[in-house]
């Protein structure tokens, strides 16, 4: 009966001499894997968003949290006049990125998305545009 107790304590003591697992967040930041699925980004090419407003990402999104509204520009081309993701509803599945036929959408390593108001979680096109 005493033997298992001692074994348990041995494990506990052995940990005193190992490297700590706890991360002193927010002073310390974790190393995020390159394929981590964090905040979305709308990729930019030739100074404008690559998104052509095809509506495939809102179609595939299981959380139905993407709103796209297409517009027609001066050259009669299609562009996303509205592009919004409601991060409160997003489940970070990445389907939207996978669905995009023009590789206009990506997911970053950004995960610090806490905010004060619900409306702050709705990311507009401006907030999602790739920063360069």
């Amino acid at each position: 009966m005493i033997v298992p107790l001692i074994k348990g304590l041995q494990i506990t003591f052995s940990h005193l001499f190992k490297k700590a697992v706890t991360l002193q967040y927010p002073e310390e930041k974790p190393v995020v894997a390159p394929r981590f699925r964090g905040l979305h980004t709308l990729k930019v090419s030739h100074n404008s968003a690559k998104c052509v407003a095809c509506y495939l990402c809102p179609t595939v999104c299981p959380a139905k949290c993407i709103t796209v509204e297409a517009g027609e520009d001066a050259n009669h081309e299609k562009f996303a006049a509205v592009y919004e993701i409601d991060m409160l509803r997003c489940i970070f599945c990445g389907f939207c990125v996978e669905a995009c036929p023009v590789d206009a959408l990506g997911m970053t390593q950004e995960f610090e998305l806490a905010n004060y108001k619900r409306t702050d979680f709705v990311f507009s096109k401006e907030r999602l545009l790739e920063k360069r």
């Binding site: 052509v52 407003a53 179609t59 517009g71």
Partner: protein, 829 residues
């Protein structure tokens, strides 16, 4: 019948069927790109290749090959699959593959087949097309880079629409679909070509980029413009009607629509829709609550009811559902006790409610739309039948072009119909229709061509003696149609195995009333062209439910005031409360001054409408109502077809349906609860309306039900009057523009993009004489007033005759007309 085997299945089909038809009948799907059941076989794309045992050695297109006895067909061998894949690879070779920005994606035959046949690589390489895209015309964006050369657009525009806007030009790799001289498209904008285009080469501009096909909720309904009663599918997203969706299996018209049906839906979600009740306070209309508005209306109605029920009058539009019209009749005739209820200016329904009633004992046409293609000779009164009822126009096109129907047009102007192959036109002086029809009747009697059975019918002797006084020569001189033409038409009509008469009616056609109808009915009765397939007379009611309004007797039946008298009654003070539901007398009734005076007279005016129309602006209370897309109910269209509309979106603003409002008024005024769903009201209608007794909303289904009628023919002599003419003046005719129907289409974006303002149409010779050309402004003056209008020069109008559409409020033509079939005007620059 022919027997054949397809994929080991025994099939028996008619001998004119193709392999494709036979396979379809057997439930076997053969992929197609260029084939369409409405069009002649084309055989251009080779997607439908199959193998036939008896024709081994090559693959056979299923869509063009007729079946033969004992044929053994295979539809899915490896060789066939490879061939079809090759077809797709070749089509994709020059195709831009811009599905992400193409509106057809999701509903694109090329995309679907590419997916189905797993074409994910191409063994060929080539440059893409680089054609210029046509962005110029108002409604159709044409991107020939996406075209797969199926030819369907040019075929439908030629075979069914009979416009012929497109054809293939150039050869080989240079080939493309083009308009004449490659100019911008300028056509009827019916959108038929968009609907059949299997890819995104033709797209509807008003819907461009608005939503994806798969995101649309598709709700089947019935068009709320003209009386044809085309079925349509509304494309709904986020509680908004965004487009109409093509469904080739809908209705007698196979999903084909006209310009206003296809492109005129924007009135439903227009920003101009009324969203709250309005009450006039200190001379201005201010928003109010429903309670306040209804209480006010109820108190005014009950006051008037107590003092004198006949001081209440109503004008109710035939755009409402049968259920709503029924409740309106109940409210006014039974609850309040006034017979002064009418619609369509009091004259536009008389062909049905008086003409047919007298001649046949019923208020509906004895014939059906399907008779048009089954007849031998089709006599159309006014070429305008095409403008008023374009999809019935398609039926006429098909009757002439496919069935070889002998088309005769008795009209005061030329038009689309008179240009059909072998169509014979009889262009007469304006206003002489009845004279001419009487002359035809007379000629039939003179030539002893009358049906012996007709002689025993009531009215035969009276007609005979009335016609004895008629002189064909005099009529010929008065109407400007040669005697030989009249007698020839009489002979041909009488001798034709089957003959059908079409008469469009409406606010724009004051001459098409009960007398003309009876005169025409006389022809059919005299020659025994009744009660048979392809025979009889078909009255084309103007609005979506004109027939229903006639069936439900939304007109005075016991000595009440008709529409004209109601307006006069307001002015004289006899009518104290005027209830207007959906009608817009200020714009659409003749004699604008009369309507305005009536509305300004001090009578309490309630207007129930979708928009703050010119009439609503003058009301004391305005109630916002739901459009056809926000409610359920039934419409009865031309040819007695009772069809259902379905709710597609929830109410716009605080609007309520006319049914809800009327039911509430009935409850409050009578003290007895009135409610019930539209299905329950329909049951009441069925129980009380002749012809409807066998109907219930369940039995209507998707296609509606044509209710039966029994006619008791009677010959009714009518006197034609030689129309007055005024030397040196022009005969002004009003009527319908192809792109509009009534005044509601002005709130639809599509119709306004094509035809956004009133115009005056005249012939080249007159234009030359007056020294005006297209686009100039011309001054028109009549006894009643004067107007400035844009000139449109065309080939339709005979010399001395001009035409103005009646739909518009700016330069409203009713400020110079007084409800006569012809108005004499002077024109000056």
């Amino acid at each position: 019948m022919v027997n054949l085997t397809i994929d080991d299945k025994q099939v028996t089909v008619a001998k004119d069927a193709t392999i494709f038809d036979a396979a379809k009948a057997a439930g076997i799907r053969i992929p197609i790109l260029c084939h369409d059941k409405k069009l002649h076989p084309f055989g251009g794309c080779r997607m439908c290749l199959v193998e036939v045992e008896q024709m081994k050695g090559r693959l056979i297109p299923a869509c063009t090959t007729p079946v033969t006895e004992g044929m053994i067909v295979r539809t899915t061998t490896d060789e066939i699959m490879t061939a079809r894949k090759l077809v797709l690879e070749l089509l994709l070779l020059k195709h831009p593959l811009d599905c992400p920005v193409c509106d057809a994606a999701g509903d694109c035959d090329l995309q679907n087949l590419t997916y189905e046949y797993k074409v994910n690589a191409n063994k060929f390489t080539d440059e893409k097309f680089r054609w210029d895209i046509d962005y110029e015309n108002p409604l159709i964006e044409r991107d020939q880079n996406r075209c797969i050369h199926c030819g369907k657009c040019s075929r439908i525009c030629d075979e069914i629409v009979a416009f012929g806007a497109y054809s293939f030009v150039n050869r080989g790799i240079e080939a493309k679909i083009s308009t004449p001289f490659d100019e911008k498209l300028d056509c009827e904008y019916c959108g038929s070509c968009i609907s059949v285009c299997p890819v995104g080469a033709l797209i509807a501009k008003p819907f461009k980029f608005k939503a994806r096909w798969w995101a649309l909720n598709k709700v089947k309904s019935v068009c709320s413009y003209c009386g044809t009663g085309c079925q349509l599918t509304l494309g709904v997203k986020d509680n908004k009607v965004l487009t109409t969706v093509y469904d080739e299996d809908q209705g007698f018209h196979n999903g084909q629509l006209c310009s206003r049906g296809r492109f005129g839906y924007q009135f439903i979600n227009s920003d101009k829709r009324l969203t709250t009740p309005l009450i006039k306070k200190n001379g201005t209309l201010v928003p109010a609550s429903w309670e306040e508005a209804i209480d006010l209306v109820v108190s005014r109605l009950s006051e008037a009811k107590k003092s004198d029920p006949s001081s209440v009058a109503a004008l109710v539009t035939p755009r409402l559902t049968n259920e709503e019209l029924y409740l309106f009749r109940k409210l006014f005739k039974d609850v309040i006790g006034t017979d002064s209820i009418d619609h369509s200016a009091g004259y536009a329904h008389k062909a049905l409610t008086e003409g047919l009633k007298e001649s046949f004992g019923i208020t509906a046409s004895p014939s059906l739309i399907e008779d048009i293609q089954k007849t031998d000779l089709l006599l159309v009164l006014k070429s305008d039948a095409y403008e008023t009822h374009p999809v019935i126009g398609f039926e006429i096109n098909l009757a002439v072009k496919r069935q070889g129907v002998d088309l005769r047009i008795l009209s005061d102007k030329s038009g689309k119909l008179t240009r059909l192959p072998d169509a014979k036109k009889y262009i007469h002086k304006p206003g002489s229709e009845i004279l001419l029809v009487n002359a035809i009747a007379k000629s039939i009697l003179d030539q002893n061509l009358a049906d012996p059975a007709a002689q025993s019918l009531p009215g035969f002797d009276a007609l005979k003696s009335a016609l004895a006084a008629v002189s064909i020569e005099q009529i010929s001189a008065a109407a400007g149609v040669p005697v030989e033409a009249i007698t020839r038409l009489a002979t041909d009509y009488a001798k034709a195995g089957k003959a059908l008469i079409l008469l469009p009616i409406g606010l724009g056609y004051p001459g098409h009333g009960s007398e003309l109808t009876s005169a025409l009915a006389n022809l059919a009765i005299l020659t025994g062209k009744l009660n048979k397939e392809g025979c009889g007379i078909l009255i084309l009611g103007e609005k979506n439910n004109s027939q229903g309004a006639a069936d439900l007797a939304i007109h005075p039946t016991a000595g009440g005031r008709d529409a004209g008298a109601i307006l006069e009654g307001c002015t004289s003070g006899a009518v104290k409360v005027l209830y207007i539901a959906g009608e817009n007398p200020v714009v659409s009734y003749p004699d604008k001054a009369k309507s305005v005076k009536a509305l300004e007279s001090g009578a309490f005016v309630v207007v129930q409408d979708l928009f703050l129309t010119e009439t609503a602006q003058m009301a004391d209370v305005v109630l916002p109502v739901k459009s056809f897309a926000e409610k359920c109910g039934t419409f009865t269209s031309v040819g007695r077809n009772v069809q259902q509309i379905r709710k597609a979106i929830s109410a716009v603003g605080q609007s309520r349906s006319d049914r809800e409002i009327t039911a509430e008024l009935i409850s409050k005024l009578s003290g007895a609860a009135c409610g019930g769903s539209s299905a329950e009201i329909f049951t009441e209608i069925a129980a009380s309306t002749p012809g409807y007794s066998s109907l219930s909303t369940d039995s209507l289904g998707d296609n509606g039900v044509i209710y039966p009628v029994v006619i008791t023919p009677k010959l009714v002599p009518v006197v034609g009057v030689v129309p007055e003419t005024e030397e040196g003046k022009f005969a002004l005719l009003i009527g319908s523009s192809l792109y509009h129907c009534g005044t509601m289409s002005r709130y639809g974006e599509g119709p306004m993009l094509v035809c956004g303002e009133s115009y005056l149409e005249l012939g080249r010779t007159d234009a030359g004489k007056l020294g005006v050309s297209e686009g100039d402004t011309i001054k028109l003056k009549s006894a009643a007033g004067e107007l400035n209008l844009k000139v449109k020069v065309g080939t339709r109008m005979p010399e001395g005759v001009v035409f103005v559409p009646y739909h518009f409020e700016t330069s409203a033509i009713n400020s110079v007309t007084a409800g006569n079939p012809v108005t004499w005007v002077t024109l000056s620059r």
